[in-house]
Symmetry: C2
DNA sequence: TTGAAAGCGCTAACAG
DNA sequence: CTGTTAGCGCTTTCAA
């Protein structure tokens, strides 16, 4: 069907060698202006496009990067993807997105799939189920450039970009405290996720700073991060069933926050009369929500851009990189 | 950094020729069981993975498909993408997603970018700005398999998958009529988009069937499809400023529906007291909205799956395909 | 049953 | 300044 024009066609038509054509096309110095003009004009005329696959084979790189996220339907990730694309496309890289749907198995499959399709680097945010990261470690050990964002694996020494989760959590919790709530629960995702740990820590710190005792039973984990309605509902039910029922709740994730509101709605729990709420969310329709949600917003777009810049730097580095950094970006609190 | 094992390494280590190794690995009949066993076992042991790029070069296909949508952040599209991935990954195809952000220029760039990266086929939903489709037509003429979904170009003869937009619009409008509204306005995206035309038609038909006269000034176009707050606000303001102010509004798009609610909120227009609303939306948090939104939901996941199945059939067809079809899937009305 | 060689599209080292 | 040649990893005639 497709019969693309090759460098050979041009060479034949113009009575030149393929290497001359190649040079003319690529602007090498050792070429006569006349030939160059001849070739470039003819090439344009017949619509020559270099075959990226042949180039990839030759240069041993694909000019594409793989992105592993849990869901593109999650506002945080879709914004991050916008950021990733903005940088990648600019530098001529393709972006291949794959979703884990918070499943460890899919993560392993996707990561290996991307690697075997020889992407030049990987941008990863771990699935909530992921504890064992050997699938990533082995790739990294083999030299695959990897940058983590959002949900990072500290065991792997590479660049990372995250929001200041601890501070964001602190701010949200503090806001609840300052609004007069004292019995603040915490709903979060799986306990091994970096973001969960950081947000839990911020929550605890705020409590401590305001002289409120941390209670273990006020913390509920939803390993599916809000993807499973029942899981969220059970957690909420357990919280409101406590003898010392919490009067507020700090929610540590995007889907979890909306999930929580849905549960409230269904259980006829009124906000903030029965319980107040503040949570992480990057949704851009939060203003339409009822009950309303005081939210911690992460600079997702910027995180995506930064992570991609760092990854491309790793990919294009001439010498093995030894120094890595973890960039931490500020969150913003939107009081509603 | 990466030093992948090649067929040559195996050949050398085993004292065979590369062609023998290749055959052994690919299960050709003309190979001795002994050699085959030897090779496959050794290959597995040292972790041999065929280089997909070399394969692509040889077989002139990349085993990847390109997807062009306006925004992954749009629920409809993220659901469609889930459907696309579910089929594509199953069949060993990569999915490369690109966003137009409703811009014609970006669409042209993205389509050409994907084509030049030699995807094997394209799944396209047009940007709202797109009127001229020659960038797609020329690719299609050259033999690139293309399937349209959602926003289709009827001028291009190929497979298409859409929701029954006309019926969906009819149902929504009818619902408003049956709820007692008679002065129903219509807010839609650009007037050249297939979905706009179909939805407008369903709206008109419902009005006609219930003996309501269609009024041109009740139809407002937002070419940016809700991406530009001001545009939506202006449209709404014009509607409510009409001397014969509408008492209900049927909105023809996802972002437009939420955009509309935002405008209502800001202008302190109360729903349904001041104006009732029904609109297309695939958001999964609609239940949390206030004001609430009666919605027409499209089977986005299924549309994505179907479109991908059709595309892969085109790609893998042995002979040029002459027969194309347009599949139309039912929408569902959620009354809130 | 196996090996040698050509070729997919392109670049680069080496000659001339 | 330009052509010849080899090679990226793999498959596939063609010979042996």
């Amino acid at each position: 069907m497709f019969e693309p024009v090759t460098i050979k066609d041009i060479a034949k038509a113009l009575g030149l060698s393929t290497s001359t054509v190649s040079r003319a096309l690529r602007d090498t110095y050792e070429i006569s202006p006349a030939t160059k003009k001849l070739v470039t004009e003819y090439a344009k005329q017949i619509g020559y496009k270099p075959n990226p696959i042949a180039l990839s084979l030759k240069e041993r790189r694909s000019k594409s990067i793989g992105v592993v996220v849990s869901e593109v339907a999650n506002s945080y990730f879709s914004q991050a993807i916008d950021g990733i694309e903005s940088i990648a496309y600019d530098k001529g890289y393709h972006v291949i997105i794959s979703q884990t749907h918070e499943s460890y198995d899919r993560e392993v499959i996707n990561v290996n799939h991307l690697a075997s399709r020889s992407v030049d680097g990987l941008l990863i945010s771990l699935s909530s189920q992921t504890e064992d990261i050997s699938h990533i470690k082995s790739l990294h050990d083999k030299g695959m450039p990897i940058v983590f964002f959002d949900r990072v694996a500290d065991e792997i020494i590479t660049d990372k970009v995250i929001a200041d989760n601890e501070k964001g959590a602190y701010n949200a919790t503090e806001h609840l405290i300052k609004s007069g709530y004292k019995k603040i629960a915490h709903l979060t995702s799986s306990n091994h996720l970096s973001i969960s740990i950081e947000r839990l820590s911020g929550y605890k710190k705020a409590l401590a700073d305001y002289g409120i005792t941390f209670k273990e039973e006020y913390v509920k984990y939803c390993p599916h991060g809000g993807m499973l309605y029942e899981e969220t509902e059970t957690a909420i039910k357990e919280l409101v069933a406590l003898k010392d029922k919490p009067d507020a709740i700090f929610v540590a994730g995007d889907r979890l926050s909306t999930g929580c509101l849905s549960v409230f709605k269904n259980l006829k729990i009124e906000v903030p009369k029965d319980i107040a709420i503040a949570g992480f969310s990057n949704s851009d329709v939060l203003d339409l929500f009822n009950p309303s949600l005081t939210s911690v917003r992460q600079p997702a777009y910027e995180i995506g851009r930064l992570a991609t810049e760092m990854l491309l730097k790793l990919i294009e580095a001439k010498y093995p990189v030894e120094e890595f950094e973890k960039k931490v970006l500020d969150t913003s609190l939107f009081i509603r």
